[in-house]
């Protein structure tokens, strides 16, 4: 039933003389181009874009969309990504003209509704974090990490303290060390114990006067809560450092505990995870950060402030690190987040955490018998199982399992992360899945582990393509279509 003609590349469907958009004729008097622009500035030919009609374009892209899995069509238990349901009311509301059709440089008197919304986002995120000062500027979680580290760097510079090292647990997401490097720090890994927690002895050994920040994810990337977090933050503070909380896993602790209360000085949120903004195939997201009052002066500029009943953008922030992007922020994502927070309220958010943790523990209980979970019988909102015994006994890898799940109508979980577990499968169901879905998923996983290795090595069998050759793709990269003549 698939329309393989329509899914040919746009460039292969191009026909001379076709166009998809007709603009009106120019209604102002025109001057000759060579009077308006210097010689040599005008292109001799228009750009070699494909020529297509509107129906061509629609059929092409709508057919392409059917080649994707998505939250709206499939269960997506990707650990660390929080692939929860993306509410449709939020889509409708963030595209209201009064929300979407606003130029960033409009007079502030014409933006009071938007500024109020953003101010209230600042307040709500501060309350949920237990860290009062919030910047909505960063465009993604990693961007928020980098921004917060720049804030930390600025505060140490102000205090004339030369601290150049960021400590990061070995199970951390790759963006943590990458962000630290971009912010100008060097990084040092901190070991985990065999139980998967931060090794306090190793941390103590590495903390010193050069430590700027300890970055921690809590619950951590194994889905377990670092119960020694108060001690950890104390140790870091005693050494003169700051604690950064990677908020990717906030879904587990909303309304239960707060990063500011357990000793974090800075954190970022992922609204496209915790607060249901859709992932869009890889973005956009946003990366708002929350920090202590002492670090507030260093936050990016501008911030929204309230004066009486009016809202305005405050640029008068002399100690701010400046800007990390143009214009205010990924406002569309923040508007969806605002809708989500208003929909849930305090009780709703707490229920989100409770059910995220319930669903994850239930799935853990169902799979642990055939896919061991090294860190025990309890988890928070996600858990990490290992297929290492399957690999050694039957030559079935985590990747094989992931690929075969696609045949069963499930997106694969995250595989090979965190690095500290071999043949890792990181599974995060989220709270918006039914028990029935979890049962079906556990059943599928079990059946897969009983299938012959050969079948699994060539999986998936029922998807449009199977096992792309990634080696050749990297060795001889073909990153664009090229017309025959140019090849």
């Amino acid at each position: 039933m698939r329309n393989t003609q329509a899914t040919q590349l746009l460039f292969e469907q191009s026909r001379p003389g076709c166009r998809g958009v007709q603009l009106p004729a120019c209604d102002v008097p025109e001057q000759p181009l060579d009077e308006l622009l210097p010689a040599g500035v005008i292109a001799e030919e228009p750009p070699p874009l494909p020529e297509l009609t509107e129906p061509d374009v629609v059929r092409h892209f709508v057919n392409l969309s059917t080649l994707n899995m998505s939250v709206d069509t499939h269960f997506y238990p990707l650990g660390s990504c929080t692939m929860k349901y993306n509410p449709k009311r939020n889509e409708r509301l963030c595209s209201l003209p009064g929300m979407a059709d606003l130029h960033p440089y409009q007079p502030e008197s014409t933006l009071q509704g938007m500024l109020e919304l953003l101010y209230r986002c600042q307040e709500m995120l501060g309350e949920i974090a237990g860290l009062p000062a919030v910047s909505l500027q960063p465009a993604a979680g990693a961007h928020g990490e980098m921004t917060a580290l720049l804030v930390a760097a600025a505060s140490f510079r102000d205090r004339r303290e030369r601290r150049s090292v960021v400590l990061i647990p070995d199970g951390a997401h790759g963006t943590n060390p990458a962000s630290a490097t971009m912010a100008g720090f060097t990084t040092l890994p901190v070991k985990s114990t065999s139980d998967g927690f931060v090794d306090l002895d190793d941390l103590a050994a590495k903390l010193n006067g050069k430590t700027a920040v300890f970055m921690i994810t809590n619950p951590n990337t194994l889905g377990i809560f670092e119960h020694e977090i108060a001690k950890i933050t104390q140790m870091v503070h005693d050494a003169g450092g700051l604690v950064y909380l990677d908020g990717a896993n906030m879904n587990a602790i909303l309304g239960i505990t707060r990063p500011g209360d357990f000793g974090a000085d800075l954190m970022h949120y992922n609204p496209h995870k915790t607060f249901s903004s859709p992932h869009g195939g890889g973005g956009p997201g946003a990366g708002p950060i929350a920090v202590t009052e002492q670090l507030a002066p260093y936050l990016p500029s501008p911030m929204v402030v309230k004066e009486g009943d009016a809202y305005r953008l405050d640029y008068d922030r002399p100690r701010s690190i400046g800007r990390v992007r143009s214009f205010f922020g990924n406002t569309g994502v923040l508007v969806r987040m605002f809708c989500y927070l208003l929909t849930h309220g305090p009780d709703g958010l707490r229920r989100v955490a409770e059910h995220a943790v319930l669903n994850a523990n239930y799935l853990l209980a169902k799979v642990k018998h055939f896919l061991p979970v090294p860190n025990g019988d309890r988890c928070m909102h996600e858990f990490v199982a290992t297929a290492s015994h399957l690999k050694s006994d039957k030559d079935i890898s985590a990747m094989d399992i992931a690929k075969r799940l696609l045949d069963h109508g499930f997106h694969a979980p995250t595989v090979y992360f965190p690095l500290i577990v071999r043949e890792a499968l990181m599974i995060e169901p989220t709270e918006t899945e039914t028990k029935a879905t979890l049962d079906a998923f556990a059943e599928a996983l079990f059946r897969i582990t009983e299938e012959p290795a050969d079948l699994l090595h060539d999986a998936p069998h029922t998807t449009p393509i199977s096992r792309p050759d990634e080696v050749t793709a990297a060795r001889k990269p073909v990153l664009r279509w090229t017309p025959e003549q140019e090849k």
């Binding site: 998809g20 892209f61 792309p468």
Partner: protein
Amino acid sequence: MPYIPNTIQDRQAMLEAIGAGSLEELFAMVPSELRLDRRLDLPPGLGEMELTAHMARLAAGNTAAGSAICFLGGGSYDHFIPAVVDVVSYRSEFLTSYTPYQAEAAQGNLQALFEYQTLICQLTGMDVSNSSLYDGASAAAEAAMMTLHATRRSGRVVTADAVHPEYRQVLGTCFANLDTELVTLGTPQGTIPLEELEAAVDDRTACVLVQHPNFFGCLEEIEPIAEIAHKAGAVLVVAVDPISLGLLRRPGDYGADIVVAEGQPLGIPMGFGGPYLGVMACREQFVRRVPGRLVGQTADRRGRQCWVLTLQTREQHIRRDKATSNICTNQALYALRAAVYLALMGPTGMRQVAELCLHKSHYAARQLTAGDQFSLAFDKPTFKEFVVRAAGSNVDHLIDTAAADGIFAGVPLGQWYPELADCMLIAVTEKRTKEEIDRLVEVLTGSTV
């Protein structure tokens, strides 16, 4: 709660299977002294009807650009967005899908992004495009950082104050912890003075970063600039307006090494500043240093043509602290929007929209400066935007008066350029009719056209 589908019975059954007596038990890992002992101080939850009313009230507190006449520019523009762009990007399978790490489950996204990469190369004349960065400003900063590594020169980056002030602020923030000197040339005549550029670009200079057309809407002398950069062994990074490329010579054809852009004009709403689209394209030689995701073509185990994320060893999930950038989440959905827009417009549409912007902005400039209340700040060729100086009137007052009349007249420049405190930046896109332009002139000059 609207999105939690489990019933009380489900919960009971699940707790039994887990072997826990209550939900509370599942949080045993969290020490009691760290538990929040009160409700979060947030307003109570709203149903869809109440939420809709609430948001309508907030939206009514804003003036949508479509309810006014918008002549605002400076990196974000009121361009026309065809309906097809919205319809495609609202498809569930695009909107609610994840990063295409599992290629077999994401050929739609991967092919669309491969097409986007190709379209950007076709538009800019460059060899390679990535599949998006956050916005034009962060793309410019990433480009500058790339050149520090690529040239192994970290002494200096040369730019000009005719580059968007917010781009330069972002550069400044990124460079705060590095030893690299950021030299910013003044542009009192509206474009970069070539002799000063030549003097500034030395053998420690990693790149020359210019914007063309620049923030003032002026066209730089881009070919001599390219020569100066290359003679000194520096990389030329050009920030462009993608709409201008329907008409102007492509950066790839005049010697740019890396091209960055704010892709918002390509089918993306103004959205109070975001999400937008960071475009980056470059010459082949930089491909292994490019930040962000790259989609490559390959074959599957049965020889079928397909697409995958490739050269991932550049990225954070593999190279970690040695990655070319920390970027993970990008602006994929907005790259899709740009691809759909470019596919609909094609070469003829892009040429036409550029010509409309050119002619309409020049008409507006001529009409505004016909009397003696306004003059052009710079005597340079312009595209889509221009800077006018108000003789004797206060620019902020003029803008407020116009706003009261339903016109967003221009962006006041005093906030970034003290010497231009009596000036504003006016943008005229294909959406502005002759009547609207005449109305702008009428309101600003107080006289009928």
